[in-house]
Symmetry: C2
Subunit: 248 residues, 2 copies
């Protein structure tokens, strides 16, 4: 009795895994039951199914529960971040290797890589890697290690070791704080070794942040501003000497 229902739920989940979206009507037809039954199945399994105006989707796709902590901060300064990345993207050249730091800021950079450029992108976070997989012409190198949910990134000796085998033309770094005197800082200490090694190995490094980060100081220091060719914000490339706290 409950057997029939359980089987149907599994079949529905399977169909959804394949299709990503399923119309209520189609689902009913597919499983040979009424729309009402499908409605109830969905309502009974909120962890499995999401439902949007007649369409069934995987719960994961619309789940407000953040898969990583990142999502909570995703909205703040999104426009500024995107604009900063537009400026940063001008330093990407075809057939070169770039490094993309973790965090939400540089996620936008991935979508701004020109379609026809074939590049190699080095990353160490899931959100950046996910975005990169959608780009047909990108070769992706992931630095592995132990996962840190706070930044959706990985860290470990083997990841650092991998960097020894790579030639990085341009590195795009991000920071949670940019202090004119102290330099670039971030929140999580595990990111520091990766950032530092990348900066030391890459031909050119750029710090990409929205202006809200300027003037802030966070616990983990990773580089003086002189380590970067430029600091790139939504206003463009700032000469290092001109940096100042945001007006607001």
């Amino acid at each position: 009795m409950a057997n029939r229902k359980a089987t149907r739920i599994i079949a529905l989940a399977d169909a959804l895994a394949a299709r990503r979206v399923l119309h209520l009507k189609d689902a009913a037809a597919l499983l040979g039951v009424s729309e009402m039954t499908i409605r109830r199945d969905i309502a009974d399994n909120p962890g499995l199914f999401g439902y949007l105006g007649g369409h069934i989707v995987p719960a994961a796709d619309i789940d407000a529960d953040a898969p990583y902590d990142l999502a909570r901060e995703a909205d703040s300064h999104a426009t500024a971040k995107r604009e900063a990345c537009v400026h940063a993207a001008r330093h990407i050249r075809p057939d070169e290797t770039i490094f993309i730091d973790c965090g939400t800021t540089l996620e936008y950079l991935v979508d701004l890589i020109p379609e026809n450029y074939s590049i190699t992108a080095v990353c160490y976070s899931l959100n950046v890697a996910d975005r990169l997989t959608r780009r047909p012409n990108a070769r992706i190198v992931m630095l592995g290690g132990v996962y840190h949910p706070s930044s959706a990134s990985f860290s470990g000796n083997s990841g650092l070791e991998t960097l020894n085998h790579l030639g990085i033309n341009v590195a795009f770094l991000s920071a949670a704080g940019v202090d004119p005197a102290r330099g670039a800082t971030c929140v999580h200490f595990h990111e520091v070794p990766v950032k530092q090694k990348v900066i030391s190995l890459a031909r050119e490094s750029y710090l990409v942040v929205d202006k809200s980060k300027i003037g802030k100081l966070k616990p983990a220091f990773f580089a003086p501003l002189t380590a970067f060719r430029a600091v790139i914000t939504e206003g463009g490339e700032a000469a290092l000497s001109v940096l100042e706290a945001p007006s607001g």
Copy 2:
């Protein structure tokens, strides 16, 4: 003129990035325009926005274009795969370290890890890693390297090197072909070194496949069946000597 529209589109994309789902009505209120305008914005940017019965979602969430090639095969034998994983999950013990192979089969295993078990999971593919991030009690170790879209996995020397530093209690391997005589084979050669090293290091290894794989032979050989404690299918654990081609 087109300026206003472009600004609004970006704002909408930003709001969506934060919320994952946005009701048409809310979007209209948020941006201070009519629902009709939002409708048109969405229709004009099919690459950016998806739309399902009154709700705006990121296009990526409902895009039929597979992020990885995996998705195309995702539906086939899904129920059998899930059932095989149910049997496999009985070998997971709390506070231990498990290895999860790439492919769609073992993705299901992640969801079957008991909620209250705190485990360490070693993986080398994006789809498995993604699922693991949704589990609060899992420590995740990712083997890095160069990305292979065909299996959404990474391979490289540093990933192999990482394995030397790990103690794996139970390894769950998958295969595209299981031949009683020849053993376990897969399609992609780059997976072979990882699988072999894992088998050699783990205390126990299990081969988890749906029955459709039995009798098949694929290009890349990675282990004889004697390397595994058992072959686990939707029918349960098969004694190695009893393996035979599926009846259908």
